[in-house]
Symmetry: C2
Subunit: 398 residues, 2 copies
């Protein structure tokens, strides 16, 4: 996008801004160099070990970001997230904007203080949720008009507005406004939408007013390689601190997901982090790590936990099943999470059948521990020059 004249990226201003936060010594180097460094590359794949620096600390990649939709990772205390090795959370701009409101969160010291999470936070732009509203939203060049799912009130999200909201929330990493295109949209629509997403991305960059917060551009382009390529070229011309790949994991099927994510990752610059949005299952994440992605988020570990589906090194386990009623074993013999160290499958089944809140708590602790173990194992494999594990079954085998 040649129309961008002055890149608002890294500058001396950043220093002054962070100095006001009393963080100048710790982070003074950040705003003059790249925030992301590739530490080591895998020989057998495009996987890489990296480090991403943010105002609230550094993140080792590849990493998983638990979803904290309404300023809480459902059913998990922040201290338990720290204990399981969680490095960064995701917050949902759409939800926080509607309730309790970004202004209120700012008044209370920002999202970190509000939810008592001292580590990095990435906020999405709200676009994904808005586009999920279907009939309750209307899209135009200006942005997206929508009706709140809470009270039916009308709102307008523009690129400028989503940047403002995310700056108000005070997240470490913000996302541009994009349209998450249905996987079966026709090529004409995909093209027009992707072009608009690029224009919106540029408007997001121009709207930045706060230093210290990183901004990631989102690559769309549907299931068309040439449109993905075009979108990457356009985004890459803009000074984003990282790139996300969106519009995948939305029903296109496993083969297309893997092919399109790998293709797009290969187009992105080496020196900036790559975030595959909303994907997904452990096997999808491993595949995407191999393809060169660095960051992931998904509701699967927490949502499945509340539904009684648990991840193990031997596959998924549905704790509701009668076969577990008298099973004295932990969910996963090889797992060291609080749940597996203390409770039997029989107990977890009992909690689930009895509708106890502790069921959601213990299941969520286990599933998130599993996901973080998966990422840790990937990082260690790359660091040690060992093959990235072929399947989740290898995660917990030491």
């Amino acid at each position: 996008m040649n129309s961008i004249e002055s890149a608002p990226g890294i500058s001396v201003d950043s220093l002054e801004s962070t100095s006001r936060l009393g963080l100048s010594l710790r982070f003074s180097h950040l705003f003059m160099v790249n925030h992301f460094a590739v530490i080591r590359k895998d020989a057998a794949s495009r996987a890489r070990l990296g480090r991403l620096e943010t105002v609230h600390g550094s993140i080792e990649t590849p990493c998983f970001m638990p979803v904290g939709t309404q300023a809480t990772v459902k059913a998990v205390l922040p201290r338990d997230l720290v204990e399981m090795g969680c490095q960064i959370l995701l917050g949902n701009t759409y939800h926080l904007y509607l309730r309790p409101g970004a202004g209120l969160i700012q008044e209370l010291g920002g999202l970190h203080k509000f939810m008592a999470w001292d580590g990095p936070i990435l906020t999405d732009s709200g676009g994904y949720q808005v586009f999920s509203l279907g009939a309750m939203r209307r899209i135009s060049e200006e942005g997206v008009r929508f009706q709140s799912h809470l009270d039916g009130s009308y709102h307008l999200l523009t690129p400028e507005k989503v940047v403002e909201i995310q700056e108000t929330l005070g997240s470490d990493i913000a996302m541009t406004l994009d349209e998450c295109i249905p996987h079966d949209a026709d090529r004409k629509y995909v093209r027009a939408s992707t072009e608009r997403t690029v224009r919106w991305a540029e408007r997001c960059l121009r709207a930045r007013a706060k230093r210290g917060q990183l901004l990631f551009g989102i690559v769309q382009g549907g299931m068309h390689e040439d449109l993905r390529q075009w979108c990457v070229d356009e985004m890459n011309a803009m000074p984003f601190e990282g790139f996300a790949v969106g519009g995948l994991g939305v029903g296109e099927g496993e083969a297309m997901l893997h092919a399109m994510s790998a293709y797009t990752a290969g187009l992105l610059p080496e020196d900036r982090p790559r975030y595959l949005m909303g994907v997904g299952r452990p096997e999808d994440i491993i595949d995407a790590v191999r393809a060169g992605f660095d960051m992931f988020d998904c509701v699967i570990p927490t949502r499945n936990a509340r539904n009684g589906t648990l991840f193990t090194s031997n596959g998924r386990l549905n704790i509701k099943r009668a076969e577990f009623a008298r099973d004295p074993h932990p969910v996963d013999d090889a797992c060291q999470c609080y749940t597996c160290r203390n409770f039997s499958r029989a107990y977890l089944r009992h909690l689930y059948m009895a509708g106890e809140i502790l069921s959601s708590q213990l299941n969520s602790l286990h599933n998130l521990y599993f996901y973080h173990g998966l990422m840790k194992r990937c990082r260690e494999s790359i660091r040690d020059g060992r093959p990235i594990l072929e399947s989740p079954a290898q995660i917990l085998v030491s």
Copy 2:
């Protein structure tokens, strides 16, 4: 009850039994002496500081027992109960008997192992829940027939059966079967019911088959001093390791609750623990500590937590209220619980309004911490010869 010929209480058999558990060295003294010792008496009231020994450790009294109805204190991890100074939990025989079943729990190593709680556990007899069933239960000399609230299946709880169930569960303290008499029952009914409760208590004693588990007799007698006196005399003639006072806090009003509980406590022997069942509010507990009670349980701290009512040194606080929407203060400035150390009232209100599970978790942590702080303060006051605090408002003032 002169009909009791051989007291099945403390004997050399106990030693052999615990020896099988590998606990003989640690607890060998327990089964030859009283399990309860009064350490210090308050000069200005009948309050006392005591210690109760059980197979799973000793309990300092006065103490509060969080209710773990279905083998979990709702929304709280066992680890967090330990951290807040919880010494003993209560489990509900009625619920555990119906689901998942006492036999299943025994198979899995007993209630302690099942729910990962290494400390003492007291189980009730199930009587209270059964009597709450109303039309779904029928009482006779034999016991209580009832229909399960879960599936409508028919069951019979007899004194012998409730002892067997509690022995199967493996709790540290078991309760006799009693009838919790409605506060407005006529004297004739109260008398007949109380006599039956005494006969049931004797049958419970005779049914004991397991050493190591303490058995508490329950004093009924309604709102009649002479019937309470008669019941205490009968119970006191039997070798129970402790006594509970039941049938209070059931709608008789605060004045009657305090009068009748104080009267009954004054009749009970000094050398055994006194447990006021199901009571209650912080102010009721303080009053009862002064009257000489040692043990308490109530669902109020956890149930209120889930409903958004929080206890503070300045009284109750309903977190739903709009006035807290932007309140940056913790629930209680003087409180050191995890919730108060990390979160604002505004955040807790947000979680409640958003229906987040974390709301129940954080509120329960706070309320249980408050209750345990209350008991700790009572114990310290008695130990130091200071007046027992007059109201919960003094709890957190150091």
